[in-house]
């Protein structure tokens, strides 16, 4: 019998509790239950990176995480990067470099960049490319995105 699962976890520092069928993905919980629509669903297949969030310090595809797997986890989404008053410096770097075109990949790109920079504050170009290799930009604006991440790292 499919019962709903009560799942308690933290999102952007706040404790939340949702009640969902176990087959609900984290991406769906974020968007539909919690209204955090900055996390996008692209391929729903773990290949495009639009749904990237940081789960317990690691970038993951939230479309491939099921509700019960989130219990007790610490999740950071694009809404938890920066704040109401100011952008996170990495977001500012994207802005400065013009690293945003249609914008659909941007939240996932920023989350992958944040996860990279927290693990490795001074990444080389190859490391930046590796970190965003799972984030597809169909506007193909990769050069500016790579430049934004590298300039942010170099400027700190």
């Amino acid at each position: 019998m499919t019962k709903e699962w009560q799942v308690r976890f933290r999102v952007n520092g706040n404790s939340v509790m949702v009640s969902v069928p176990p087959m609900t993905s984290l991406a769906e919980i974020l968007r539909q239950q919690l209204g955090l629509t900055g996390t996008k669903i692209g391929c729903n297949n773990g290949e495009c990176g639009a749904c990237t969030v940081i789960m317990n310090g690691k970038a993951v595809a939230s479309c491939l995480v099921l509700a019960p797997q989130v219990a007790g986890a610490d999740i950071r989404t694009i809404e938890g990067v920066g704040g109401d008053k100011a952008l996170h410096p990495i977001q500012q770097a994207f802005l400065d470099e013009g690293a945003v075109q249609c914008g659909y990949c941007t939240p996932g790109m920023v989350m992958s960049a944040v996860a990279l920079l927290e693990e490795n504050p001074n990444p080389g170009e190859a490391e930046v490319k590796d970190a965003i290799s799972g984030n597809l930009c169909r506007c193909t604006g990769y050069q500016k995105i790579i430049r934004a991440i590298r300039h942010y790292a170099a400027g700190r």
Partner: protein
């Protein structure tokens, strides 16, 4: 039909559940294969047994020269482990070349084994390491060499009541040179059209121990016993490497499929084995 979802906190409870449900249960580890198959291939498991709360399966541990990877150890954990680069370098490079960071943070070594893809990157390294897979059920506990564990694409000798708990292998000696390379549609986030890996030890100008494995050119990952035997004891020379690469290409049996063709895969095998042997020789001689 309603679905049962079980997420036990202890291995004993997981084994108990699997004993009860048998092949009605699908085991969930990192989710990177199962969720995709459920969404896109119409797989609808009656029971999902989620191993995610079994922290005991998340550890990399060592006992003398033995290294043990719990089934839930992720590709990223292997890639980032400070010691594995020296102990089993091609496993680290294979894991690094799997999917994206997001996939490597979720996908597990146990899942890579269970998936039994002939194109599995981490599993190819386990063939080279002659790793043994640890299977546990409520009633049994056994170790199976990885080459006997995987029998065909997607097929293993895991019984319906068994959980893959981990994998064990010996660390490589410090003088071993290693290699792993894959070729896919593009450089990153790609499934291998063909892959190759190797371990060699060179002594007094001759190949001593030599192990070679290929991915995506047979129903399972394969070792190359004829090539390994031909190399063992042979002097290190360009001619010997040429012949070994040609023999590897002649002895593999690739197929035409969605990702590549027989002719191109055979060509890749020749190129990858040649490049791998040359790289390992260079690395061994500079050490």
């Amino acid at each position: 039909m309603d679905q049962v979802y079980i997420r036990p906190s202890h291995l004993d409870d997981a084994l108990e559940a699997l004993n009860a449900y048998g092949d009605r249960a699908h085991i969930l580890a990192g989710g990177t294969d199962l969720l995709v198959r459920m969404r896109h291939d119409g797989i609808y498991p009656e029971v999902i047994l989620d191993l995610g709360a079994l922290g005991e399966l998340r550890k990399i541990s060592r006992d003398g020269d033995d290294i043990h990877l719990g089934a839930l150890v992720t590709h990223r954990q292997i890639e980032k482990d400070a010691m594995l680069a020296g102990e089993a370098g091609m496993l680290v490079s294979a894991c690094h070349q799997v999917g994206s960071v997001q996939i490597r943070n979720s996908g597990t070594i146990g899942g890579n084994l269970a998936n039994a893809s002939p194109a599995g990157d981490a599993v190819l390294a386990l063939y080279l390491l002659e790793a043994a897979v640890h299977l546990q059920s409520k009633h049994r506990d056994r170790w199976v060499p990885v080459g006997e564990f995987i029998t065909a694409p997607g097929q293993t000798t895991r019984r319906a009541d068994e959980i893959i708990c981990g994998v064990r292998f010996k660390r490589l000696p410090p003088d071993a040179a290693v290699f792993f390379e894959k070729v896919g549609q593009r450089q990153a986030v790609t499934i291998s059209k063909a892959s190759a890996g190797g371990i060699v030890r060179i002594s007094q100008g001759c190949f001593q121990e030599c192990r070679l494995a290929l991915g995506a050119v047979a129903p399972t990952i394969i070792r190359l016993p004829e090539v390994e035997a031909a190399l063992a004891g042979s002097p290190v020379s360009p001619q010997v490497i040429d012949r070994a690469a040609a023999l590897a290409a002649a002895t593999c049996h690739p197929i035409d499929d969605i990702r590549s063709t027989v002719a191109y895969r055979r060509h890749l095998v020749q190129v990858l084995v040649h490049r791998g042997l040359a790289a390992m020789v260079a690395s061994a001689q500079s050490a």
